[in-house]
Structure formats: C-alpha cells, structure tokens
C-alpha cells in the first residue's frame, strides 16, 4: 500500500516505523499480544488497520498470536506478529510450526532484559532464542537492525525474504530502537524497484471441491517414524543451505589493515563503528564488523575480514550470545584471539569501547 507520496523524511519511534514498513510491504494482517517494549507496533497497526481496512487481532497470549498469524498466512494473508522477552519464549512454539511446515511469516522482536521478566527496556539477550529457540534446527532468517532506517528497510525486506524462501524471518531490534525517536526516510518499495513479498496461493481454501475438483490440501507437522521425518527435513535443510549465501548480510569498515576489529550487531554496532573511527583518529588500527543477518551468520565474510587482525573484540549487551556465533563461525576458518566485552541488558557507548581497546582489553 502506498503510505507516502514519493519519499518523506519523518521523525518517528521505531515501533511506529515497523508498522508502517509492514503496511508498505503489503502486509494485510497482524495478530499480537501486549508486551513492552513492542506494544506501539500493535497500536500503530491497529490504527492503520482501521484506516485502510487491514486485518488485526489482539489475542489472549503470544501462543495464540503466533498460531493465529500462521492460520491467517495459510488462508492467504500476508500476516506478521511482534513480541519481546517472555513473549518471545511463548512465540517459539508457533515459530517451530512455521519452520516445520515452511509457512512464511515475519516476526519483529524488540529485545528486553532477560532472563525471566528482568527489564522491559533493552538488551541483546534474545539472540539465541530468536535464531535457534525452537525444538529444531533453527532454519530461520534473522536481521539485526541498528537504526530506524534499518527497521524500515529490513521489515520490508523481511516480508520479501520470508515469502520467497518460506523460512520464518525475523527483524531483531530492541527496546531502545522501539521507543527512540529518530529521523528516517519513508518510501514506497515499488518506487525503488524493491521486490515485494511474492503473492502466493493460499495453503487452504482454494477453489474447487477437495477430492473431486482438486486434491484436498492436507497439512501436518507430525510424522510416525524417524525416516519419515528425515525425508521431510532434508529438503528443508538443502533449501536453507542453498539460500544462506544469498541472504547473509554484513557491513564492515577498516578491517583490511586492522590490528583490532570490533564485532557487534544491532544498535551496539553504532557504538562499535564510532569507537573504531575514534581509535583510528588516535592512531590505533581499528576496524569494525557488523553481521546484519545473525542467521545465517556471515561467517566467511568475518573470517576474511579478520584474516590479518591480531584480535577481535566482540561487544554485546548480553553474555556471550553474539560471541558464540562468532566463535562458531570462525572455527576452522580463522585462528584469532577473540576477546569479549559483555554488558547484559545494559547499553554500551563508543567511549567505553575506546577506553577498553586502548587498555588492551582482556
């Protein structure tokens, strides 16, 4: 739907941006449940839904929000949901159903402190949960946004990716991004030649009498024996491996001759980038690497970037969730000293990173 004429500069909160981006991407239904810090995604969508006759349902919990979203997609809608923290935990159950059955759905996650109720504010502690939180292999796509422009760009992209690849696709933000006001440019994706989510035949409710005009559409996520499951999973695994190199994204600066590379994702990558620049200005050969997709993780690109560096500093508002992905990605590709800067649930400034690197952080 065309929400703006041409391009428009706006000053908005991240949660509002998400709802606008979903509408711009052609989403026509959202199911959700209140949980801070993502509630305004629902509020904004509810208002858009009223104005533009889109679908919206607030359900009784995140389980039903996720499952109702899946039902809506199966019936032919471009539907999405959003959650955070303990809601993200509940959402894992419907996510695994989408994963097993290759049902395209978009979820926006605004990370808050964890574990348990913790804070409603901010963290980067839902990385593992969002990437691999179900009882399966975590064949999902996760975009970690760092700015409101990212939230807009990548929410639109998430729909296109999900409907093209049929893997559950996530926009991983956080409470700071959700609640901050920031400037960005709104646009209509069609004007930029961006692919919108491909229209797809609904799973159920197609025309014709089942069993007479067409086969009945029977969908299940359960199998009777191990080999049946294996046969169902292998094509998904192959599809995922084929898709991964075409979807993985990253950003880097100054790594070619870096002595130290700061590795960070999401909003923390802004501090890392700024710190690397400051360090350069002070004569330290610092670079910065930002994985944009945490899943699939851009491991080869990181290994290439780290090739001649002496050490990496992995920075996150969590306690090892990004560091785990980094170590796993580098294993067998590059042997390098990986040091860490963890502040679970707390924001990180460029200044503290500069100090940390200058102190030869251990």
């Amino acid at each position: 739907m065309r929400l703006v004429e041409g391009e428009e500069r706006r000053f908005m909160t991240g949660n509002e941006v998400v709802a606008w981006a979903a509408a711009a991407a052609g989403a026509d239904m959202m199911c959700g449940y209140p949980i801070t810090p993502q509630n305004e995604i629902m509020h904004t969508w509810a208002a858009l839904a009223k104005e533009h006759s889109l679908g919206f349902l607030q359900t009784e919990d995140e389980l039903s929000a996720g499952f109702a979203t899946i039902g809506a997609v199966m019936a032919g809608r471009k539907a999405f949901s959003a959650t955070a923290g303990p809601g993200n935990i509940l959402m894992q159950e419907p996510i695994t159903m989408a994963e097993m059955m290759r049902i395209p759905v978009v979820w926006i996650i605004q990370q808050r402190g964890g574990p348990s109720t913790a804070t409603v504010i901010y963290s980067q502690q839902e990385v593992r949960l969002t990437c691999t939180g179900g009882n399966g292999e975590g064949h999902r796509i996760v975009y970690s946004t760092a700015s409101h422009q990212d939230l807009f760009d990548y929410t639109i992209k998430a729909f296109a990716t999900a409907w093209r690849t049929r893997f559950p696709t996530f926009v991983l933000g956080d409470g700071y991004q959700g609640k901050m006001l920031e400037a960005l440019t709104l646009y209509n994706p069609e004007d930029k030649g961006l692919a919108l989510a491909a229209a797809q035949e609904p799973f159920v409710g197609r025309p014709g009498i089942p069993g007479r005009d067409r086969p009945p559409a029977h969908f299940r996520n359960t199998f009777s024996i191990e080999e049946e499951l294996y046969e169902a999973l292998m094509p998904n695994i192959r599809d995922y491996e084929e898709m991964a190199p075409t979807v993985a994204e990253f950003e880097q600066e100054g790594c070619e001759d870096a002595h130290v590379i700061l590795v960070a994702h999401g909003i923390v990558s802004r501090a890392a980038r700024e710190a690397a620049k400051t360090l350069r200005a002070r004569g330290v050969r610092a670079g910065y690497f930002r994985p944009i997709t945490l899943r699939p993780f851009p491991a080869t690109a990181l290994a290439d970037a780290a090739r001649q560096a002496d050490w990496l500093l992995v920075v996150e508002s969590a306690c090892g969730q990004l560091a785990g992905l980094v170590r796993e990605g580098l294993y067998g590709r590059a042997a390098i000293d990986v040091r860490t800067y963890f502040k679970p649930g707390v924001g990180i400034t460029a200044e503290e990173l500069v100090d940390s690197v200058k102190d030869g952080h251990r």
Binding site: G71, E93, I209, P210, T222
Partner: protein, 330 residues
Amino acid sequence: MAIGEPSTGEEDVERLDHTDALDGPGGTFREALSSRAAAQSLAGAAAPGLGSGGAGGGLVDTAAMRPGRMPQSWRAETKPHPFCPGCGHGIILRALGEAVDDLAIAERTVYGCDIGCSLLSWNLFNLDTVQTHHGRTIPVIVGIKRARPDLVCIAYMGDGGAYAIGAQHLVSAAIRNEKITVIVCNNTVYAMTGGQLAPTTLAGQKTTTTPDGRDPKETGLPVSGPELVMCIRKDGVYAARGTVANFRQLKLFIRRALEHQLSGYGLAFVEALSTCPTNWRTGPGETWHFLQHEMARTFKVGEFAGEKGRDPGQDGAASSDPRSERSAGR
C-alpha cells in the same frame, strides 16, 4: 434454557429419522467403497448418492439416501482409518462428515485437528486440513476464519486439548465469540500418550497418573465443557453435548453447530462423549457401560443453547468508553 437442563433434541431426531432399511441402493459397504474410489477422479465425475444440494447449499440428508456408505467428505484412499477398535473418533468424525455432506460445504470447509488421537484424522477427510500443535487448534482456526470469513472453520480436539492446554484459547474464543465450530471428543483420558488424568476424568477413575483413582481432594472433579462455554457467553453461542451412543442426535448437534457458523451468530461448540477401550482397559460391555452409565450420569447430554441466541454486540449495542463523557462536549 437454564444451564444444566439441556434439551435432548429428540423430537428433531425423530423427524430426521426416515431410514427404515439399512440396505442402500449401492449394495454392501465394500462395493460402495470400491465404487466410491473409482468415482473419485479429478475429472470430477459425480459420485453416486451425492445429494441435490450441490455447491449451492441446502439441506439434504444424503446419509439417509445411502445408509451404510462412507460420507462423500471422507477420503476413501485413507481408509480404513487408524483409530483403535472401539474408539469413538470414527463415529464422531463420521457424523461430522455426513453433516458436511448434507450442508454441501466441503468446498469451503477448513478442518483443524489437535495433537493426540485427533491428529490421526489429518488425512481422513476430503477437506482442506491442518494438523496443529496440542491445544492450539482453536487459534490456528481462528486465524484462518479471520483471514477468510467465508470459509467454514472447524476445530477438532480431545478433552485435553480443549480443557487443559487449550483451555485458554477456548475461553478466549468464547469471550470474543469467534465464529468457528469447535468439536471436542471427550473420552475422559489423554489417550494417545497412554491414558493419563484428563480434565474430564471421573472421580475415582483409575488412570496412569491416578493409579488409585481420581481423588477430588487432590485433583478436583471433571469439568463440564459446554456449560463452561455457556457461562462465559450465552448470547450468540451454540453449545451442546452428544454421545457416540446416539449417532443421530450427535449428528444433529454437529449439523446445528455448522449451521450456527453459516448464520454468523458466533461460537458453536459440541462435546461428544466418546470411548477409549484401549486406555480404559475395558472390554466391549464394560466400555459401553462406562459410557452410558458412568459418563452419561456426570455429563448431561443435550443442547444448552439454541442458535436463536444473538450477540448483543452484533446489533450495535451501546458502547461505553471512559472518554465518551468528554467527547459528548461536557
């Protein structure tokens, strides 16, 4: 009518019952099965016995015209179905299949099943079907119905899926008066997982997790599902309890529950008393006794609300918002 005093629908069953002979025009069941399978080609040859309702709707009791035959909305290729001997699922789902045939709604029906023995019905019908997670059939079906209100959406589950892990979703569907049809198979145990205590297990009933019998002091008493739904919302809801011991009545209730959705009134709910000799560890006689005497004493069979009830919200009832005083200009 007051909760707890259901009508049995007997007079309606009498009117419907005009099958005097079990022999249909098509011969024996096996002959009917093979002729049905031959007729089910995508070329769309009309199968014998299809009622005159066609796709345009209209009520035709096709089962009466061809008794003993598999419902058209059943898929012959997946028969015999995998339910245990003596299981009530086959009977409930046959009643559902015949009701779908009679209403001629197969083309726009989506059927959802839960986890447990109900999942074995994932390919039972010639209907679009989605097997969901345990207790999550209602929200998936709600999502489908909200996306496509023209579809007839059915959520089928057991007593565990409805009253334990899925209770939250049943309650909320009643609160929001979701326009779906929910059918619950109540056999007083979790059957697929090995006969554990269920919300509808009777006091004193032995299960694998109540080896000494259900002690009300420890785990309470069995829940009454249709009554629960009626407590949450009377207007706009259709609620009934049937039993596999009375097929025609059960089919009538299921048909009414589907018609309720077609009329757009709101939630339609049917619980069916059912049997599980495998987990009850009972022979045929004991199974029948438990169903007819023990269960029927605890769970009242009949209709709890007519489709005549309407949701006041549908008629644009006055809304109350804390801000309305201000907006009225005071």
